[in-house]
Symmetry: C2
Subunit: 110 residues, 2 copies
Amino acid sequence: MQNSKAELLQGTLDLLILKTLNTGPLHGYAIVQSIQRCSDEILAVEEGSLYPSLHRMEEKGWISAQWGRSENNRRAKYYALTRAGRKQLEDETAIWERVCRAITLVLQAA
Amino acid sequence: MQNSKAELLQGTLDLLILKTLNTGPLHGYAIVQSIQRCSDEILAVEEGSLYPSLHRMEEKGWISAQWGRSENNRRAKYYALTRAGRKQLEDETAIWERVCRAITLVLQAA
DNA sequence: TTTCTCCCCTTGACAATCTAGGTGAGTTCT
DNA sequence: AGAACTCACCTAGATTGTCAAGGGGAGAAA
């Protein structure tokens, strides 16, 4: 419960990463920047959250990793969605929409 | 990550409870039912989550408790929003809307 | 009197995130 | 050439919130 600093909703990080990778492979550092940019600088993913999440999802087979070189000529690990990952992205998106709608309903109750 | 069973988004329980109490004092059992009903049976609050949350918020001064009798003539602890609780409700509602919008933005990105 | 529902509670496990570090390689500045 | 900075990776430990799984008592209903 920080003051007004941007935090993640627990449980949404995997979804955000999967979605970010949906447009093509990216390395970790770029994923953070992409999420931050796409969210209007509201969401800030800490590296201490990012890498454990990436490793979890790789283990589960949702993403695959491959070493390469970044645009800045630095060694970087590129992550790509697998078929299972695309399925997971669909599922989690549906769950998010469902729960988000439910919460909104409660907040709009008389 | 259950199959399709309704879960809470971590971090939203306090908000849901505060909002539910906004219309008037309720006892714990009734809070659960109210959230469930208002959310179209999507959100199910476990008692093992509810009571710790209520006690946390009482400790923080957002709600106050008072023993009474339920509609069914049973002893029940009624919780009511305090002034600080109303403020907290406002704040958390704003944060939710902000973060919810941010996530939606990411999910809608090309 | 047995059973059911209502209503309260706690303990321990678990999962996700954050804090706070650390590494190394390439680039830029002085 | 050396220093400082950025990019990009990583991990250990603490913290937090939720869930699972219990338990108890009192009123109502069978």
